[in-house]
Symmetry: C3
Amino acid sequence: MPVLLNPDRAPALSELLRAIPGGLVQSVVPGIGQWTNPRIAGLGSLASAGPNEISFIVHPKYLDQLALTQASTVIVLPEIEVQLAQLAEPVHFARVICKHPYLLYARIAQWFDWARMPAREIAIHASAVIDPTATIAPSVTIGPHVVIGPRCKIEAMSQISAGCVIGADVEIGASSLLHPRVTIYDGVKIGARAIVHSGAVLGADGFGFAPDPTLARGAWGKIPQLGSLLIGNDVEIGANTTVDRGALENTILEDGVKLDNQIMIGHNCRIGAHTAMAACVGVAGSTTIGSRCTIGGASMISGHLTIGDDVHVSGGTAVTANVSKPGRYTGVFPFAEHTDWQRNAAVIQQLSTLRKRLRKLEKE
Amino acid sequence: MPVLLNPDRAPALSELLRAIPGGLVQSVVPGIGQWTNPRIAGLGSLASAGPNEISFIVHPKYLDQLALTQASTVIVLPEIEVQLAQLAEPVHFARVICKHPYLLYARIAQWFDWARMPAREIAIHASAVIDPTATIAPSVTIGPHVVIGPRCKIEAMSQISAGCVIGADVEIGASSLLHPRVTIYDGVKIGARAIVHSGAVLGADGFGFAPDPTLARGAWGKIPQLGSLLIGNDVEIGANTTVDRGALENTILEDGVKLDNQIMIGHNCRIGAHTAMAACVGVAGSTTIGSRCTIGGASMISGHLTIGDDVHVSGGTAVTANVSKPGRYTGVFPFAEHTDWQRNAAVIQQLSTLRKRLRKLEKE
Amino acid sequence: MPVLLNPDRAPALSELLRAIPGGLVQSVVPGIGQWTNPRIAGLGSLASAGPNEISFIVHPKYLDQLALTQASTVIVLPEIEVQLAQLAEPVHFARVICKHPYLLYARIAQWFDWARMPAREIAIHASAVIDPTATIAPSVTIGPHVVIGPRCKIEAMSQISAGCVIGADVEIGASSLLHPRVTIYDGVKIGARAIVHSGAVLGADGFGFAPDPTLARGAWGKIPQLGSLLIGNDVEIGANTTVDRGALENTILEDGVKLDNQIMIGHNCRIGAHTAMAACVGVAGSTTIGSRCTIGGASMISGHLTIGDDVHVSGGTAVTANVSKPGRYTGVFPFAEHTDWQRNAAVIQQLSTLRKRLRKLEKE
């Protein structure tokens, strides 16, 4: 549906595939007629792609949609190509045979995303307020109304979009992209190729208070948050996500961590490499999460826990204890029609009594 | 309590009601003495309204409060007026009789909100950075430090408040209001009469990654988000809410959708007309929600689901499966004193065993 | 680990303790050799503190870590000092004996936080847009790209950081700190010594709509939010937290309230003094919460409730009814390995039937 390039700028399929890195393509089967080597102006799902577009099928269960697609080219698994070849009526579209169709789709989408983008203007907008002690590489782009504090270092090819506010002593690696209105507090370090979406706040104070009865009954005294926040390479951080600085140690996001929108990472947490979290997750302070974990949306991880590598938490789950064994973990109250829920929820409050009554019957 | 207008600018009740559209008023019963046709300077609840104010009663259960109110005028249901007329001691306040008192209250509040507002200055602040290719209707107001990208179109009477950042190719319909510090990414379209609150981020990238073992074990390759975000007319979006753009298709909010604060709508979602969501709701990607639904606060809707029209989800519920039948749905763990909870929660882990033991007893 | 001061600016232990208010120190036991009265350049945990740093031990269970610490000085409870004095091999580090080690640590951290901070430049940045009718105390600092509306009052020593947008008629008490990119809507009042983190939105419209069938089937008419938001003294508000203004009355945060990040407080709520909420909590409209409560992360409090003083809600709990009795309350579905959860969750839907079956057996 979203034709991305003007048809006269669209590459032929063979040209497009030559531009995609990684050796993912196993072979190409030409389509019929005008689709021998079609021009590709964009990508689309099987249902929405038009005749100028390439699509993909990741699972045989979508074969029905494949039969109906209007795409001129489809990325297919080898086993699907085998099925297509056996059809009485040959399909008209070209096929790109590939063992990782979803990854190839991602790479082709990256190519189109790059091809459609207007040339980036390397410039520092006149309205930006940059401390004279900051070091900004010459290839960096800085948008309107940006503020950059003392002694910051921004490396080559990075882009700081409109309205970002960056404190003192912040470091941002090469080829990083801050979308508009990101805030970075003093002393935060970010690696190369970061993508940070609008509204994210990196390095705000952790939530640290000591009971201070000398102020008032029940009053809290602030514990200054003297640690910082260190972010590795290739990290993406979603819109309005917040990652707090450490109290004494640092909060750490390792390489390749991907955080969706509206996530909260508390102070002193360490999130392992390539761990991905869906939106609205909260991780309380001083928790360590291993590498290659996935945390489903709206999950909550308590503080001071250790979660191992390769742990997968289902959406909506409250993780309240350490998890050392890889695997999938869940804890969600099943939803139901309200009156059914009411009936069953009422019993929850009596479960322990119910068990006792059952035991008693068993003994009789 | 909040007297909104200077008493000498306050309209008489009869004048005020003439200004309210919609034919909602059935009749007016004058009050006694000075309250025959009182001047109305503001609105208040029954408990807090003073003698210059109008109040309302939406349900007979608040009759106790009605007896004590100091309001000079009260909006009442016809059946409540019948009760008032039978009282031995007549009430002093004027009554506006109306079958939809809450709606009439809303309309009167809208009138006061308009009447108290200072005349809007139609102007573009000198500090705003507006691309010369953008089309801004002459009646549009643009605040300080706003940034508007190439080829945007902002229609008549709209107001873009301080610090908003609007990307390229964005369209905003007539009479829309962006509160301060809203971010809109490239290509997003918004209809007429939108209200968007501060910190909202519209059209950021959806959370799309393909496993890419060629980068590192467990690494993720970014899937560019090539779709956009389309928003209908009369939509309100709360503070710090995020609505992501689509991956290949568009994310869509239909006419009249109302989203409270801190909501997250994932990529490719479609939210039906007049559906309202309370704060902190998360909707994962590619889910379709029908029209006229209400989603309670802090609910979570999983991805790739279809929720029909007129579905009402209680707050705190995790919806993890399709819902086609209208009605109310719930799934919340009942809270209790901590030790009671502990006792009962321990049994949850044994429910399946408990059922087996029960079956065994039944067979004996 | 974070050595905060240049060693030549580091105070001797005796000097440092003289600078700390409150009479918390019971006595000091000198260390051995060079640690008789060591210079203190920073703070650290037992595990991470170096020889220039002071650490603290809050509980005897950390004695193992105490034995290994490299800190030159440790804050200890009197009972721990008794244990240390009985050791065959005397410890080398100095001890500060104190009944409230965590509070003393907080105070020392506050001292270092102050000592390391560069002198604040009292100035109004040239790019700030301040309405001429606003009253700004001469000792106030205002950062770049700030916007301040008509008739605002900002009291002495307050700091408004870059990119903040403050509406009309806002009042901010003395010595308050707004971090970058905070939004405050018209009419909000904030007390003294507030700390507000980036992305917070204070006083946006509450979520108020009346069904308005005259517009369209299922349509909602906006109820203007005519109340305001009043915030007491010594309140801290976390990054991206939102607190809505009232509909007719005001929303109120009393003195000493501490809100972590990504919290949502609905319209007309009243939060009692010194109540603290961890991140991601949502409080629906018109709920009153007492004083000295703690609300665990990601908890949800329904609307129109009354929660008393000294109530402690565990993280992840949905509070759906009034709570008058002080104590701890919980309601979290226990998480488990996914297949175990599946097995047990399936029984939840049959709990009411299960109870009936049990009753039947009991009667037999």
